[in-house]
Subunit: 135 residues, 2 copies
C-alpha cells in the first residue's frame, strides 16, 4: 500500500469528473485535462482513474457495447442508460438496499457488499424522436 500524492494531474482529473454529470470516457477526460495541461498523457489519465477508483473517490460504470465510463460521484446511486444515444444519466430515486437484505437472508454464505442497478431504455430526446418517426 503506497500513499498517493496530490499531483496536479490527479486533482484536475477529479475536478473534471466532479464538474460533469455526463459519465464520460477516459478519452473525454483526457481531452478536458489536456486543455489545461497540454502535455498530459493518456497513460496518466488511465493510471489516475485507477487510483481514484481504488480510493473510492470515483466510480467506473460499464454497459454492454460501450467503453468504460467514469462518475465523479462515488456514492451508490442508480443510472439510466439510453439505448439509442448511449447517454448515461443519474436517476433521482433513493437508493434502496432491500434486495441486498433479501439476498443475505436467502444466501447467508455470501458476503454481499453492495449492488449496482442500471435502468435502460430511451431518454426523453430519443423517445420523442422515436415517436415522431412512427407517425
Amino acid at each position: 500500500m503506497s500513499r498517493p500524492r496530490n499531483t496536479k494531474q490527479r486533482q484536475l482529473i477529479l475536478e473534471v469528473l466532479r464538474g460533469t454529470t455526463a459519465h464520460p470516457t477516459a478519452d473525454w477526460v483526457y481531452q478536458q485535462v489536456r486543455a489545461v495541461l497540454p502535455n498530459v498523457s493518456l497513460g496518466t489519465i488511465y493510471r489516475n482513474l485507477g487510483v481514484l477508483k481504488e480510493q473510492e473517490l470515483i466510480q467506473e460504470v460499464r454497459y454492454p457495447g460501450s467503453q468504460a465510463r467514469f462518475d465523479g460521484n462515488p456514492e451508490p446511486h442508480y443510472h439510466f442508460f439510453c439505448l439509442n444515444c448511449d447517454r448515461i444519466e443519474d436517476v433521482p430515486l433513493p437508493f434502496c438496499r432491500d434486495a441486498e437484505e433479501a439476498f443475505r437472508q436467502k444466501l447467508p454464505e455470501y458476503e454481499v457488499m453492495g449492488h449496482n442497478t442500471e435502468f435502460f431504455g430511451l431518454c426523453p430526446d430519443c423517445k420523442d424522436l422515436a415517436e415522431r418517426r412512427e407517425q
Copy 2:
C-alpha cells in the same frame, strides 16, 4: 434486417452457453467450440455472439475491470459478481420490477424498458478464505 441461418457454428455456440452457468468470456466459448470444430475462428465467435444477442437468445454481462461475459439465459435475472475471483453467478431471487415502476412514476418522460442489477461482494469460497486469513 436479414434472416440469420442456422449454421453449426452458431448452434454450437448457443449450446455451449446454455450448457454452463459460468458466464464465460468470448475466448472461453472459443476454446469450447474449437474442441468440436477445430477450424472455427475467434471472429466467428464474436460475430455470432453479436447475432445471438440481437436475437435475444443470450445476454452480455459487463463488470468494471472484467471483459465481456455471456449468459445463455436471456431472461432477466440477477447476477452476483465476486470481487475476489471474478466469478459471476445467478442469484435465485425473483426479478422484481418495482423500481422500474417507481422510475416511470417519477420520470414519465423516459421510456424505461428494463433494468439490470448486479450484486457484488465475496462468494462463499472467497469469504471463507478471507475469514481464515484474518485469524
